[in-house]
């Protein structure tokens, strides 16, 4: 059961019926030594994070740089390990699984990254890029699959022979989405997928993502620093600060009635046309909005 309400205690057991269930996850890093006499203090990237994402839910994670959202994503997708705590994806605990047993996770959960140039191999043709998740998993695939994937994201099938640099930023992000769809995952994790895009293209990519998630009834975890984008995309949101979830709830509720001071500061700092036309100035952005 996923409750819209604020907190999930780290003491309740992970929910095997949820798409993703995270309990008391911490992650400590050690910086390189700077002194001969003592080890450098550890960095607490995550300090006990717990939440559930139900099947088919659109779950947002918001926070500024350094809040731990990228570390959390890496752990969810099996690219990193939690120092302590439990992560369950589709009812399977992935916290202690060895790499060779994570294959189910790569089929079930796929990632879309922020920078579509950095995450696409410039020397591979589109057709090979899009189908690579299947090749890597040694699964059978046909040439028609490529065409179907490209068409699903609004690209022409004959684009398969071209290279990433021949496409604009928005089109490259479509390619990333096509690649993520290749293994027919049930969960898409998108890390700032529209932050690098121009305004007129951002709306297209957000619409495409919404279409695909709806048509295939996928679970979406959407990470962004931009609260207004998350509000548009997600049903529920977790606000992260300094390795912790400081507030969690239905997106509209969190947006309209933020309880935590950090959430209030975050919301009031976002410049919007509405605020500006209502006469707000830059000085108002630095004030914490009254709740």
């Amino acid at each position: 059961m996923v409750d819209a309400g604020a907190t999930v205690s780290s003491s309740t057991p992970a929910d095997p019926d949820a798409a993703i269930s995270v309990r008391g996850v911490t992650r400590k890093y050690r910086r390189p030594r700077t002194s001969l006499l003592q080890p450098s203090p550890p960095v607490h990237a995550l300090r006990g994070v717990s939440f559930d994402v139900a099947h088919g839910e659109h779950f947002g994670i918001v926070g500024e740089s350094g809040c731990g959202k990228s570390t959390l994503l890496r752990i969810l997708s099996g690219l990193d390990r939690a120092t302590s705590g439990t992560v369950m994806v589709d009812g399977t605990d992935i916290s202690d699984l060895p790499e060779r047993k994570l294959r189910f996770l790569r089929e079930r959960l796929q990632l879309v990254f922020q920078d579509p140039m950095g995450s696409l191999d410039p020397r591979m043709r589109l057709g090979d890029i899009v189908i690579e998740p299947l090749v890597a998993q040694g699964r059978p695939h046909r040439r028609e699959d490529v065409a179907a994937l490209l068409e699903a994201v609004g690209l022409r099938a004959d684009a398969a022979d071209r290279y990433p640099h021949q496409f604009s930023g928005g089109q490259r992000q479509r390619i990333s989405i096509a690649r993520a769809l290749a293994p027919a995952p049930r969960i898409i994790v998108a890390d700032e997928p529209v932050s690098a895009l121009d305004v007129s293209v951002r709306a297209q990519v957000l619409n495409l993502l919404a279409d695909i998630v709806d048509e295939r009834s996928l679970t979406l975890v959407f990470v962004s620093h931009d609260l207004s984008v998350v509000r548009h995309v997600c049903d529920r949101v977790a606000v992260m600060n300094d390795g912790e979830i400081v507030e969690m709830g239905l997106t509209d509720e969190v947006y309209e009635n933020p309880r935590h001071p950090y959430t209030r500061r975050l919301i009031s700092a976002v410049p919007t046309l509405r605020k500006a036309l209502a006469g707000a100035t830059t000085a108002d952005l630095t004030q914490e909005s009254p709740s």
Binding site: G169, Q171, D198, V199, P271, L273
Partner: protein, 343 residues
């Protein structure tokens, strides 16, 4: 686009503050390819003007031509004049421009680390600018003034900060240092090119506020370039919309953002509004994507993405002036009562 008339000694104009920056017919070309075409505008003392556009619209090139920092191979023509500086800035040699930059015109760029010297303490960097332009007579008073500037941009413990190196600061703090440096000689014009794009939202809020306050305090003119409509709406009074190397619309922020006349402006505002969706919950979009430089259609640069385009758009649309500093270049503008409701 024809420039808003320069020589119109109407009585209302005499009450306006003095022109600080006057750009007329600015063209930028590489080989035979035109990247910027016929850009004209004026910014007066105390005025904060935004320039909005997507990547490849030519907004950064406009800023670079004003400052004489165009990369090798790019040629600017037209005229750029600055109050208090003799002659045309486009014709000025590098020696003359280096006296103007940092003194009459100052700039803040997106990436603060590249604007600062990593091997020099920041107090010395700010003081150096005061000494080079002879704003302060000696090192001691320059250092004191530098610390005072660091106070103004809200750096915690400014005296200690002056003794620190750029790498010891966070991105937002570095951008404050760059702002202190830019404001050091009380420039007549501050050019900001995406100054807060790389920053977190809460840090962006603080830096924006510091920029606006710093400019207001000096009664300086500001040209603020960004792709973020909301940032312009918060920080500026007037806005120019660029697309395909041309200014397609300009006017007061409130007018342009509530009653856009050019179809591109209308599309841009629609696409950036995440609170307005259709019955399926989808956002408004502009079809297609921004063409690469030099691939824009002839005539109206927006016509290949415009739902209202007709044959007449193969001609270049003339500039329709609606008032001083306001107008648009479109054959099929929105009607005057067709506004956008921002709730």
């Amino acid at each position: 686009m024809t420039a808003p008339e320069v020589s119109a000694p109407v009585s209302t104009e005499t009450t306006l503050p003095a022109d600080v920056l006057t750009v007329r017919g600015l063209d930028v070309a590489v080989h035979d390819q035109r990247l910027i075409e016929d850009v004209s505008f004026t910014i007066r003392a105390g005025e904060r003007v935004g320039m909005i556009g997507e990547s490849g619209s030519g907004k950064s090139l406009t800023a670079l031509s004003i400052m004489g920092l165009l990369p090798e191979g790019l040629e600017a023509s037209g005229s750029v004049r600055l109050a208090g500086v003799d002659g045309d800035l486009l014709a000025a040699d590098e020696r003359a421009m280096s006296r103007v930059r940092g003194n009459d015109i100052a700039m803040v760029f997106q990436e603060p680390m590249t604007a600062l010297n990593p091997t020099m303490k920041i107090g010395r960097q700010v003081a150096e600018s005061l000494l080079i332009h002879r704003t302060r007579p000696d090192g001691k008073s320059a250092h004191a003034a530098a610390v005072e500037l660091l106070v103004q941009v809200g750096l915690p413990d400014p005296a200690a900060a002056a003794q620190a190196y750029p790498h010891q600061f966070s991105g937002g703090q570095r951008q404050r240092v760059v702002l202190a440096l830019a404001l050091a000689n009380d420039p007549a014009l501050l050019v900001c090119d995406e100054p807060t794009t790389a920053l977190d939202v809460t840090v962006q809020a603080m830096v924006l506020d510091l920029i606006v306050r710093g400019v207001e305090r000096r009664h300086a003119a500001m040209l603020f370039i960004t792709h973020d409509l909301a940032v312009i709406a918060m920080a500026c009074e007037r806005v120019m919309v660029m697309y395909g190397g041309r200014v397609v619309e300009s006017g007061p922020v409130r007018e342009v953002f509530t009653k856009p006349r050019h179809r591109y402006t209308q599309g841009l505002i629609g696409a950036s509004d995440l609170a307005v969706v259709d019955e399926r919950g989808r956002l408004a979009t502009i079809p297609g994507s921004v063409p690469a430089a030099g691939r824009f259609p002839a005539g109206c640069v927006f016509r290949n993405r415009c739902l209202h385009a007709t044959e007449v758009c193969a001609e270049r649309p003339p500039w329709t002036s609606t008032s001083q500093d306001a107008g648009f270049a479109c054959f099929h503008p929105t009607s005057e009562d067709e506004g956008i409701d921002h709730g």
